[in-house]
Protein backbone atom coordinates (compact mmCIF):
# COMPACT_ATOMS: atom_id res chain seq x y z
CA UNK A 1 0.00 0.00 0.00
CA UNK A 2 1.35 3.35 -1.05
CA UNK A 3 0.90 6.46 1.05
CA UNK A 4 -1.30 7.95 -1.67
CA UNK A 5 -3.73 5.14 -0.87
CA UNK A 6 -3.36 5.74 2.86
CA UNK A 7 -4.25 9.37 2.14
CA UNK A 8 -7.52 8.23 0.53
CA UNK A 9 -8.59 5.81 3.27
CA UNK A 10 -10.62 6.64 6.33
CA UNK A 11 -12.26 4.60 9.06
CA UNK A 12 -15.62 3.35 7.81
CA UNK A 13 -17.00 2.15 11.15
CA UNK A 14 -20.58 3.21 11.77
CA UNK A 15 -20.82 6.28 13.98
CA UNK A 16 -17.17 7.33 13.59
CA UNK A 17 -16.96 11.04 12.83
CA UNK A 18 -13.23 11.64 12.85
CA UNK A 19 -11.94 8.62 10.93
CA UNK A 20 -9.04 10.31 9.12
CA UNK A 21 -6.15 9.90 8.91
CA UNK A 22 -5.70 6.30 9.95
CA UNK A 23 -2.63 5.80 12.13
CA UNK A 24 0.00 3.53 10.66
CA UNK A 25 1.53 0.63 12.54
CA UNK A 26 4.42 -0.38 10.32
CA UNK A 27 5.89 -3.87 10.62
CA UNK A 28 7.46 -4.03 7.18
CA UNK A 29 8.03 -1.12 4.82
CA UNK A 30 9.44 -1.66 1.33
CA UNK A 31 10.62 0.87 -1.23
CA UNK A 32 9.83 0.32 -4.90
CA UNK A 33 11.05 2.60 -7.61
CA UNK A 34 8.33 4.31 -9.64
CA UNK A 35 8.80 6.46 -12.77
CA UNK A 36 9.03 10.13 -11.82
CA UNK A 37 6.11 12.08 -13.28
CA UNK A 38 5.92 15.79 -12.30
CA UNK A 39 2.54 16.28 -14.03
CA UNK A 40 0.96 13.58 -11.91
CA UNK A 41 2.44 15.04 -8.73
CA UNK A 42 1.21 18.54 -9.55
CA UNK A 43 -2.23 17.10 -10.28
CA UNK A 44 -2.34 15.17 -7.00
CA UNK A 45 -0.93 17.95 -4.81
CA UNK A 46 -4.31 19.67 -4.37
CA UNK A 47 -6.05 16.37 -3.64
CA UNK A 48 -3.65 15.25 -0.93
CA UNK A 49 -4.11 15.98 2.75
CA UNK A 50 -0.59 17.23 3.38
CA UNK A 51 -0.36 16.71 7.11
CA UNK A 52 -1.60 13.13 6.81
CA UNK A 53 1.07 12.45 4.18
CA UNK A 54 3.89 14.11 6.12
CA UNK A 55 2.99 12.25 9.34
CA UNK A 56 2.54 8.94 7.54
CA UNK A 57 5.89 9.20 5.77
CA UNK A 58 7.57 9.93 9.10
CA UNK A 59 6.00 6.80 10.61
CA UNK A 60 7.38 4.89 7.63
CA UNK A 61 10.89 6.19 8.36
CA UNK A 62 11.08 9.05 5.82
CA UNK A 63 11.51 12.45 7.46
CA UNK A 64 12.09 14.76 4.46
CA UNK A 65 8.65 16.33 4.01
CA UNK A 66 7.78 19.69 5.63
CA UNK A 67 5.16 19.46 8.41
CA UNK A 68 3.22 22.49 7.25
CA UNK A 69 1.29 22.58 3.97
CA UNK A 70 3.80 23.93 1.44
CA UNK A 71 2.94 26.86 -0.79
CA UNK A 72 1.98 25.56 -4.27
CA UNK A 73 4.99 27.46 -5.66
CA UNK A 74 7.18 24.59 -4.35
CA UNK A 75 5.81 22.53 -7.23
CA UNK A 76 8.39 24.28 -9.41
CA UNK A 77 11.19 22.78 -7.34
CA UNK A 78 12.59 19.49 -8.65
CA UNK A 79 14.00 18.75 -5.23
CA UNK A 80 10.59 19.12 -3.60
CA UNK A 81 8.85 17.06 -6.28
CA UNK A 82 11.38 14.23 -5.84
CA UNK A 83 10.66 14.06 -2.12
CA UNK A 84 6.90 14.30 -2.66
CA UNK A 85 7.18 11.54 -5.30
CA UNK A 86 9.15 9.28 -2.98
CA UNK A 87 6.78 9.71 -0.04
CA UNK A 88 3.59 9.45 -2.08
CA UNK A 89 4.44 6.55 -4.39
CA UNK A 90 7.61 4.70 -3.48
CA UNK A 91 7.10 3.87 0.19
CA UNK A 92 4.91 0.81 0.59
CA UNK A 93 3.40 -0.48 3.79
CA UNK A 94 3.78 -4.20 3.14
CA UNK A 95 2.84 -5.58 6.57
CA UNK A 96 1.27 -3.80 9.52
CA UNK A 97 -2.01 -2.16 10.32
CA UNK A 98 -4.06 1.01 9.99
CA UNK A 99 -5.69 2.18 13.20
CA UNK A 100 -8.92 4.16 13.46
CA UNK A 101 -8.04 7.41 15.26
CA UNK A 102 -11.36 7.48 17.07
CA UNK A 103 -12.00 3.88 18.14
CA UNK A 104 -8.55 2.32 18.03
CA UNK A 105 -9.85 -0.49 15.78
CA UNK A 106 -7.02 -2.09 13.77
CA UNK A 107 -7.40 -2.72 10.05
CA UNK A 108 -4.69 -5.24 9.11
CA UNK A 109 -2.42 -4.74 6.12
CA UNK A 110 -1.06 -7.99 4.67
CA UNK A 111 0.95 -8.38 1.48
CA UNK A 112 0.46 -4.66 0.97
CA UNK A 113 -3.35 -4.92 0.97
CA UNK A 114 -5.37 -3.13 3.66
CA UNK A 115 -8.44 -5.02 4.84
CA UNK A 116 -11.25 -2.55 5.56
CA UNK A 117 -13.97 -5.20 6.01
CA UNK A 118 -16.16 -4.47 9.00
CA UNK A 119 -17.72 -6.82 11.54
CA UNK A 120 -21.50 -6.98 11.57
CA UNK A 121 -21.80 -4.74 14.63
CA UNK A 122 -19.65 -2.03 12.99
CA UNK A 123 -21.73 -1.54 9.83
Amino acid sequence: MRLLTHNMLSSNIKGVINGFPLLIQAERVVEKQVDFNPDFLKNMFSKIDWKALADASKTMGYDELPDEVPDPSVLDSQEFLQKFHHALLELHLEEGALVCPETGRRFPVNKGIPNMLLHEDEV
Binding site: M1, T5, N12, V34, M44, D49, K111, L117
Partner: protein, 252 residues
Protein backbone atom coordinates in the same frame (compact mmCIF):
# COMPACT_ATOMS: atom_id res chain seq x y z
CA UNK B 1 0.80 -3.37 -32.70
CA UNK B 2 -2.67 -3.93 -31.16
CA UNK B 3 -3.07 -2.81 -27.55
CA UNK B 4 -2.26 -5.50 -25.01
CA UNK B 5 -4.76 -6.99 -22.62
CA UNK B 6 -4.21 -9.42 -19.77
CA UNK B 7 -3.14 -12.90 -20.87
CA UNK B 8 -5.12 -15.78 -19.46
CA UNK B 9 -2.00 -17.85 -18.83
CA UNK B 10 -0.67 -15.06 -16.61
CA UNK B 11 -3.91 -14.56 -14.68
CA UNK B 12 -3.47 -15.95 -11.18
CA UNK B 13 -6.14 -18.11 -9.57
CA UNK B 14 -7.48 -19.42 -6.29
CA UNK B 15 -10.33 -21.89 -5.61
CA UNK B 16 -12.29 -19.08 -3.91
CA UNK B 17 -11.82 -16.49 -6.70
CA UNK B 18 -13.98 -16.10 -9.82
CA UNK B 19 -12.04 -16.85 -12.99
CA UNK B 20 -12.27 -14.65 -16.10
CA UNK B 21 -15.33 -15.64 -18.10
CA UNK B 22 -17.58 -14.27 -20.89
CA UNK B 23 -18.65 -11.33 -18.75
CA UNK B 24 -15.04 -10.36 -18.02
CA UNK B 25 -14.20 -10.58 -21.74
CA UNK B 26 -17.20 -8.43 -22.66
CA UNK B 27 -16.10 -5.73 -20.22
CA UNK B 28 -12.53 -5.73 -21.53
CA UNK B 29 -13.88 -5.61 -25.10
CA UNK B 30 -15.81 -2.48 -24.14
CA UNK B 31 -12.65 -0.86 -22.74
CA UNK B 32 -10.74 -1.83 -25.89
CA UNK B 33 -13.49 -0.38 -28.08
CA UNK B 34 -13.26 2.90 -26.16
CA UNK B 35 -9.46 2.99 -25.94
CA UNK B 36 -8.97 6.14 -28.01
CA UNK B 37 -11.71 7.99 -26.12
CA UNK B 38 -10.24 6.85 -22.82
CA UNK B 39 -6.82 8.17 -23.78
CA UNK B 40 -8.31 11.51 -24.87
CA UNK B 41 -10.15 11.57 -21.53
CA UNK B 42 -6.77 11.87 -19.71
CA UNK B 43 -7.93 9.99 -16.62
CA UNK B 44 -6.07 10.32 -13.34
CA UNK B 45 -7.86 8.06 -10.85
CA UNK B 46 -9.21 4.83 -12.36
CA UNK B 47 -10.95 2.30 -10.20
CA UNK B 48 -12.41 -1.17 -10.43
CA UNK B 49 -14.96 -2.37 -7.90
CA UNK B 50 -14.95 -6.16 -7.56
CA UNK B 51 -11.65 -6.99 -9.24
CA UNK B 52 -11.84 -10.79 -8.79
CA UNK B 53 -8.91 -12.39 -10.60
CA UNK B 54 -7.56 -8.99 -11.68
CA UNK B 55 -8.19 -9.69 -15.36
CA UNK B 56 -10.11 -6.46 -16.00
CA UNK B 57 -8.04 -3.94 -14.00
CA UNK B 58 -4.83 -5.47 -15.43
CA UNK B 59 -6.27 -5.17 -18.92
CA UNK B 60 -7.30 -1.56 -18.30
CA UNK B 61 -3.79 -0.70 -17.12
CA UNK B 62 -2.33 -2.40 -20.22
CA UNK B 63 -4.85 -0.85 -22.63
CA UNK B 64 -4.12 2.67 -21.40
CA UNK B 65 -0.46 1.81 -20.90
CA UNK B 66 2.22 4.43 -20.86
CA UNK B 67 0.14 6.76 -23.06
CA UNK B 68 -2.07 7.53 -20.06
CA UNK B 69 0.87 8.85 -18.08
CA UNK B 70 -1.15 10.21 -15.18
CA UNK B 71 -3.45 7.24 -14.70
CA UNK B 72 -3.48 5.77 -11.23
CA UNK B 73 -5.34 2.57 -10.51
CA UNK B 74 -7.34 1.38 -7.51
CA UNK B 75 -9.11 -1.96 -7.25
CA UNK B 76 -11.31 -3.34 -4.51
CA UNK B 77 -12.91 -6.67 -3.75
CA UNK B 78 -14.90 -7.92 -0.79
CA UNK B 79 -13.12 -11.28 -1.06
CA UNK B 80 -9.64 -11.08 0.52
CA UNK B 81 -8.38 -13.89 -1.73
CA UNK B 82 -9.40 -11.88 -4.79
CA UNK B 83 -7.27 -8.90 -3.77
CA UNK B 84 -4.25 -11.20 -3.36
CA UNK B 85 -4.88 -12.95 -6.69
CA UNK B 86 -5.31 -9.57 -8.40
CA UNK B 87 -1.97 -8.44 -7.03
CA UNK B 88 -0.34 -11.55 -8.52
CA UNK B 89 -2.05 -11.00 -11.89
CA UNK B 90 -0.94 -7.36 -11.99
CA UNK B 91 2.65 -8.27 -11.10
CA UNK B 92 2.75 -11.00 -13.74
CA UNK B 93 1.95 -8.30 -16.34
CA UNK B 94 4.30 -5.69 -14.92
CA UNK B 95 1.58 -3.17 -14.03
CA UNK B 96 0.40 -1.76 -10.71
CA UNK B 97 -2.88 -1.02 -8.98
CA UNK B 98 -3.50 -0.22 -5.36
CA UNK B 99 -5.68 -2.88 -3.78
CA UNK B 100 -8.12 -2.64 -0.90
CA UNK B 101 -10.17 -5.47 0.56
CA UNK B 102 -13.50 -3.84 1.25
CA UNK B 103 -17.21 -3.85 0.57
CA UNK B 104 -17.67 -1.87 -2.70
CA UNK B 105 -15.59 1.23 -1.82
CA UNK B 106 -16.13 1.46 1.93
CA UNK B 107 -13.27 3.40 3.54
CA UNK B 108 -12.47 5.17 0.26
CA UNK B 109 -15.77 6.97 -0.22
CA UNK B 110 -15.01 10.08 1.82
CA UNK B 111 -11.61 10.96 0.42
CA UNK B 112 -12.09 9.68 -3.13
CA UNK B 113 -15.44 11.42 -3.50
CA UNK B 114 -15.58 13.22 -6.84
CA UNK B 115 -12.08 12.12 -7.86
CA UNK B 116 -12.64 8.99 -9.96
CA UNK B 117 -12.39 9.62 -13.71
CA UNK B 118 -12.93 6.05 -14.87
CA UNK B 119 -14.80 3.40 -12.93
CA UNK B 120 -15.23 -0.18 -14.10
CA UNK B 121 -17.59 -2.68 -12.53
CA UNK B 122 -18.47 -6.28 -13.29
CA UNK B 123 -20.98 -6.71 -10.48
CA UNK B 124 -22.47 -9.91 -9.08
CA UNK B 125 -25.44 -9.86 -11.46
CA UNK B 126 -26.87 -13.38 -11.30
CA UNK B 127 -30.43 -13.55 -9.93
CA UNK B 128 -30.34 -15.60 -6.71
CA UNK B 129 -32.31 -15.77 -3.47
CA UNK B 130 -31.43 -12.65 -1.44
CA UNK B 131 -29.97 -14.84 1.33
CA UNK B 132 -27.11 -15.83 -0.97
CA UNK B 133 -25.86 -12.24 -1.23
CA UNK B 134 -23.20 -10.95 1.11
CA UNK B 135 -20.72 -13.78 1.52
CA UNK B 136 -17.02 -13.02 1.36
CA UNK B 137 -16.17 -16.08 -0.73
CA UNK B 138 -16.61 -17.20 -4.32
CA UNK B 139 -20.38 -16.62 -4.42
CA UNK B 140 -19.78 -12.89 -3.73
CA UNK B 141 -18.60 -12.74 -7.34
CA UNK B 142 -21.98 -13.67 -8.80
CA UNK B 143 -24.82 -13.84 -6.25
CA UNK B 144 -26.95 -10.80 -7.04
CA UNK B 145 -30.21 -11.41 -5.15
CA UNK B 146 -33.61 -10.63 -6.65
CA UNK B 147 -33.27 -9.85 -10.38
CA UNK B 148 -29.52 -9.78 -9.71
CA UNK B 149 -29.98 -6.19 -8.56
CA UNK B 150 -29.15 -6.42 -4.87
CA UNK B 151 -25.48 -5.42 -5.11
CA UNK B 152 -25.86 -3.41 -8.35
CA UNK B 153 -28.33 -1.11 -6.56
CA UNK B 154 -25.79 -0.58 -3.77
CA UNK B 155 -22.93 0.15 -6.19
CA UNK B 156 -24.72 2.80 -8.30
CA UNK B 157 -25.02 5.46 -5.54
CA UNK B 158 -21.40 4.82 -4.55
CA UNK B 159 -20.35 5.34 -8.17
CA UNK B 160 -22.38 8.57 -8.28
CA UNK B 161 -20.48 9.79 -5.23
CA UNK B 162 -17.02 8.75 -6.42
CA UNK B 163 -17.17 9.87 -10.05
CA UNK B 164 -15.56 13.18 -10.93
CA UNK B 165 -17.39 15.78 -13.00
CA UNK B 166 -15.93 14.18 -16.11
CA UNK B 167 -16.17 10.66 -14.68
CA UNK B 168 -17.17 7.64 -16.76
CA UNK B 169 -18.65 4.43 -15.43
CA UNK B 170 -18.46 1.18 -17.41
CA UNK B 171 -20.75 -1.41 -15.91
CA UNK B 172 -21.84 -4.84 -17.01
CA UNK B 173 -25.45 -6.01 -16.77
CA UNK B 174 -27.45 -9.10 -17.54
CA UNK B 175 -30.71 -8.60 -19.47
CA UNK B 176 -32.55 -9.88 -16.35
CA UNK B 177 -31.12 -6.94 -14.34
CA UNK B 178 -33.38 -4.63 -16.40
CA UNK B 179 -30.65 -2.34 -17.74
CA UNK B 180 -33.33 -0.09 -19.27
CA UNK B 181 -34.71 0.69 -15.83
CA UNK B 182 -31.15 1.26 -14.55
CA UNK B 183 -30.49 3.75 -17.38
CA UNK B 184 -33.69 5.64 -16.53
CA UNK B 185 -32.73 5.68 -12.87
CA UNK B 186 -29.26 7.00 -13.71
CA UNK B 187 -30.82 9.55 -16.03
CA UNK B 188 -32.73 10.98 -13.05
CA UNK B 189 -29.33 11.55 -11.43
CA UNK B 190 -28.11 13.37 -14.56
CA UNK B 191 -26.28 10.59 -16.38
CA UNK B 192 -26.23 9.86 -20.06
CA UNK B 193 -25.94 6.20 -21.01
CA UNK B 194 -24.79 4.18 -23.98
CA UNK B 195 -24.35 0.49 -24.77
CA UNK B 196 -20.70 -0.11 -25.61
CA UNK B 197 -20.83 -3.89 -25.98
CA UNK B 198 -23.72 -6.31 -26.23
CA UNK B 199 -23.09 -10.02 -26.24
CA UNK B 200 -25.51 -12.94 -26.31
CA UNK B 201 -24.57 -16.50 -25.52
CA UNK B 202 -26.85 -19.51 -25.17
CA UNK B 203 -27.05 -18.82 -21.47
CA UNK B 204 -27.18 -15.06 -21.11
CA UNK B 205 -27.35 -11.65 -22.76
CA UNK B 206 -24.80 -9.17 -21.46
CA UNK B 207 -24.65 -5.42 -21.93
CA UNK B 208 -21.72 -3.19 -21.03
CA UNK B 209 -23.19 0.26 -20.49
CA UNK B 210 -21.18 3.43 -20.19
CA UNK B 211 -22.55 6.25 -18.02
CA UNK B 212 -21.33 9.84 -17.91
CA UNK B 213 -22.55 12.98 -16.21
CA UNK B 214 -24.51 14.96 -18.77
CA UNK B 215 -25.17 18.58 -17.74
CA UNK B 216 -27.89 18.88 -20.40
CA UNK B 217 -29.91 16.16 -18.71
CA UNK B 218 -29.88 17.94 -15.37
CA UNK B 219 -30.89 21.15 -17.08
CA UNK B 220 -33.83 19.38 -18.66
CA UNK B 221 -34.91 18.23 -15.22
CA UNK B 222 -35.15 21.85 -14.12
CA UNK B 223 -37.12 22.93 -17.12
CA UNK B 224 -39.38 19.93 -17.20
CA UNK B 225 -41.27 19.46 -20.46
CA UNK B 226 -40.75 23.03 -21.62
CA UNK B 227 -37.69 22.59 -23.76
CA UNK B 228 -37.52 20.84 -27.09
CA UNK B 229 -35.71 17.55 -27.16
CA UNK B 230 -31.97 17.93 -27.04
CA UNK B 231 -29.40 15.61 -28.49
CA UNK B 232 -28.72 13.66 -25.26
CA UNK B 233 -32.40 12.94 -24.90
CA UNK B 234 -32.53 11.60 -28.41
CA UNK B 235 -29.46 9.57 -27.46
CA UNK B 236 -31.32 8.03 -24.58
CA UNK B 237 -34.32 7.27 -26.73
CA UNK B 238 -32.00 5.55 -29.15
CA UNK B 239 -30.54 3.54 -26.30
CA UNK B 240 -33.95 2.60 -24.97
CA UNK B 241 -35.26 1.58 -28.36
CA UNK B 242 -32.07 -0.37 -28.88
CA UNK B 243 -32.51 -2.27 -25.63
CA UNK B 244 -36.19 -2.96 -26.23
CA UNK B 245 -35.33 -4.18 -29.72
CA UNK B 246 -32.78 -6.52 -28.22
CA UNK B 247 -35.23 -7.94 -25.72
CA UNK B 248 -37.79 -8.25 -28.50
CA UNK B 249 -35.31 -10.24 -30.50
CA UNK B 250 -34.61 -12.48 -27.54
CA UNK B 251 -38.25 -13.42 -27.35
CA UNK B 252 -38.28 -14.62 -30.95
Amino acid sequence: MPPRIAQIRLVSSHPQVYEPCDDSYALVDALLADRTKLLEHHPTICMEVGCGSGYVITSLALILGSEARNAYYFATDVNPYAATVTRETLEAHGVHAELVTTNIASGLEKRLSGLVDVMVVNPPYVPTPDEEVGSLGLSSAWAGGENGRNVIDKILPVADNLLSDKGWLYMLFLAENDPLQICLQMRDKGYGAKIVVQRSTEEETLHVIKFWRDPDIQMEGNEANLTPKTAPQRGLEFLLSHISRLSFRERQ
